[in-house]
Amino acid sequence: MKELFPIKQVMGFVFSLILTAVALLVYFLDMSFTAGITILLLTAFVQAGLQLVVFMHAGETEDKGAIYSNVYFGILVALVTIFGTLLIFLWDM
């Protein structure tokens, strides 16, 4: 019975609910903009990672390598785009 129980998925579900609750705190508690946006960004990315690994089964097939390299490459491109844009528009304009 124990082998059949999807413990990983249940725990993942609980954890994603907690992340949602933490994100909601930003609305209900009175905190500074920086603190709020930090919490939102953190919970959002952890949530996305969780969904990808636990519920979309990213690491469970033999394509694991290809899937994760794609994800990492995507993150790299996104970060370069964001920080490059910040460099152009804010830090060095």
Partner: protein
């Protein structure tokens, strides 16, 4: 009557009215022709509903050649206007519309479908697959592209062309400065075609990862397939930016949002920024498959395996990553400081390194090869020096300080044509000549083909080298005329003559197709070029199922090994083959997309909502549709195989 006023063209001219008549007459002629020869059923069964990657590829090819003609006519008009000073041939507004159309058509509706043609036709054959991973999705990709292209192409006769340049920078492209529906066409037509391209990207990555022939490891894929993989990866990461960008632009124009406005918290510069976040990877999406084709062609006709396979792959991977790090070099003069410009300057120059690696690899492949100057090879030999010249001027432009001098001049125009024409266009035409026998069972005439190449290069050099000089002298791009006192006149006349020679070269290509259809011998076998990769191991014409028996692969050049070293590609016996069913849904849904796009462009909301519901209806229908494909029985395969071997 008020309702119909919106479809009138804001800046009419004789040329546009003449085009209207020509489009009308051609349309009637095509419809009458198909009816007269009773081909509607054939057209529907064999082409409009097909999911076969080879036929979809051929439809991409036809669209690309038509668009090459359209973009080419635009180019001739531009050069004719600039040929003499103070020319009155095109007014400034008309000139703006023509260069905008020329840019969009050539990049998005000529070069893109041309590489899609090669992806579709070549990749499944090269990796020994029977179709792409998602054949139905592939058909949707094509029809969305096609409808997007057609939507863009009717703009100049219904409602007015876009006129803000192919980059469509805000605030010029905003409602304040572009009052006609032209820029709506830009936003929405490219959006529809772009969705199709994004799907192609996903489709081909999956195909290449999951559907390779037994034994073919990643590092044993032919070089064109590698370039296709990398190019599609860039598509998947770059095109979402375009989708978002165009959606924001559409909202600015149709719903008065303020993303790219000057006031109200908008930033017009954000358009330029995001446009090039997509736009720079886009040029690598175009050039990498071109590199792949040249790798195949050079190795085939130097009769050697490709030098430095691993470094070829590595350089493409590096290029794919770096293509995302350089976008700001398109707007060094926008106002950011020296630090930002230096960063993007250095990353841009760094890209020249992996590109240089590829050039040297091709040279080393030629070294001690038994070179055979066929038409595709001749294109490759013209590509190497001309493209290198374009690359070197690219490095000049990459120096941000010097770029303040070159920016927005004809020097830049000369540079990007110098990489795109010898790079992409030569590769496309070389590949077309190379794969023509595989598609249609006869070769294009070699003598006319070589004339085409030489004329193309002569025309190219005459047309674009003068622009480097006038650009350095200060001739700005996108200026519709200039005075005699500037002294630009003689070189612009030379450029016009060059453009004319390129037009003759294109005409010669068309004549070559006609000539070869009539006179070219049909008994050329499956492997007329003595080539090295799997696509030449199957029959010509390629049967629906590509390979009767799945090929076995042990090296990068399975077919060459089979010919020279007794490697057995087709082991095992024929079994029944599972193939996807044809479907009319992709075509129908894309037609509804066309109506949706059209009604959005003219803000006809009821029709937009109805067609959107129609699109959703198609999606729902597809979700509940049961389509398990069909099997081709063994007897039928054996019959086809016997027939294709020539034993009737």
């Amino acid at each position: 009557m008020d309702f119909f006023n919106r479809f009138a063209i804001p800046h009419p001219s004789f040329l546009i009215y003449a085009s209207m008549v020509a489009i009308g007459l051609t349309g009637i002629a095509v419809i009458l022709g198909i009816t007269y020869f009773k081909k509607w059923g054939y057209l529907w069964r064999e082409w409009l509903t097909t999911v076969d990657h080879k036929r979809i590829g051929i439809m991409y090819l036809i669209s690309a050649l038509l668009m090459l003609f359209r973009g080419g006519v635009d180019a001739i008009m531009l050069r004719a206007q600039l040929a003499i000073p103070d020319n009155k041939f095109l007014e400034s507004q008309h000139y703006n519309e023509v260069f905008t159309t020329h840019g969009v058509v050539m990049i998005l509706f000529m070069a893109m479908p041309f590489i899609m043609f090669f992806f579709n036709f070549v990749v499944p054959l090269q990796i020994g697959a029977r179709d792409v991973a998602f054949p139905r999705l592939n058909a949707i990709s094509f029809w969305l592209f096609f409808m997007g292209a057609m939507l863009f192409n009717i703009s100049f006769v219904i409602g007015g062309s876009p006129d803000a340049g192919w980059t469509s920078y805000f605030p010029l492209a905003g409602n304040d400065f572009s009052t006609s529906v032209g820029s709506n066409y830009y936003m929405i037509a490219i959006q529809i075609a772009g969705i199709g391209t994004l799907m192609t990207g996903i489709n081909f990555i999956t195909t290449i990862f999951k559907m390779r022939a037994p034994g073919m490891k990643l590092m044993q894929m032919p070089m064109f397939t590698w370039s296709a993989l990398i190019s599609n990866l860039i598509i998947v990461f770059a095109f979402p930016v375009l989708t978002v960008l165009l959606a924001m632009g559409t909202m600015d124009r149709l719903f008065d949002t303020k993303f790219f406005t000057i006031g109200d918290g908008g930033s017009d510069m954000l358009w330029a920024n995001l446009f090039w976040v997509w736009g720079h990877p886009e040029v690598y999406i175009l050039i990498l498959p071109a590199f792949g084709l040249f790798s195949e062609i050079i190795s085939t006709f130097a009769r050697r395996n490709l030098y430095g396979y691993k470094s070829m792959v590595a350089s493409m991977v590096v290029i794919s990553a770096f293509s995302f790090f350089v976008w700001a070099h398109h707007f060094f003069t926008m106002g950011q400081g020296a630090l930002a410009n230096s960063f993007f300057s250095i990353t841009t120059m760094a890209i020249a390194v992996p590109t240089g690696v590829k050039i040297f690899n091709w040279l080393f492949t030629l070294w001690k090869g038994k070179i055979e100057f066929t038409t595709p090879m001749l294109y490759a030999m013209h590509f190497l020096p001309l493209f290198t010249l374009g690359g070197v001027t690219g490095v000049m432009l990459a120096m941000s300080a010097a770029d303040y001098q070159y920016h927005n001049t004809m020097f830049l125009v000369a540079h990007f044509h110098n990489v795109i024409i010898p790079g992409v266009v030569y590769a496309m035409l070389a590949g077309l000549t190379y794969y023509w026998p595989k598609m249609f069972g006869f070769m294009l005439n070699e003598r006319i083909g070589k004339w085409t190449v030489w004329l193309m290069s002569t025309g190219f050099i005459l047309a674009f080298i003068p622009m480097y000089i006038t650009g350095l002298d200060g001739q700005a791009r996108r200026m519709y005329t200039y005075s005699e006192a500037t002294g630009f006149a003689p070189l612009n006349m030379v450029a016009f003559i060059g453009a004319g020679i390129m037009a003759i070269s294109f005409a010669l290509l068309v004549y070559n197709i006609y000539y070869s259809v009539r006179y070219s011998p049909r008994n050329i076998g499956n492997d007329p070029w003595n080539a090295r990769t799997l696509e030449w191991a199957t029959h010509t014409p390629v049967p629906e199922y590509n390979f009767a028996v799945m090929p076995q692969v042990k090296s990068t050049e399975a077919f060459w090994d089979a010919k020279k070293h007794g490697h057995e590609i087709f082991k095992g016996k024929i079994e029944k083959i599972h193939m996807p069913n044809s479907s009319g849904l992709p075509f129908i849904m894309s037609c509804i997309f066309f109506v949706f796009g059209f009604s959005m462009i003219f803000s006809i909301w009821p029709l937009a909502i109805i067609s959107l519901l129609g699109i959703l209806g198609c999606l729902v229908y597809r979700s509940f549709e049961k389509d398990h494909g069909h099997y081709i029985p063994v007897e039928e395969i054996e019959d086809t195989e016997t027939k294709l071997r020539g034993a009737k």
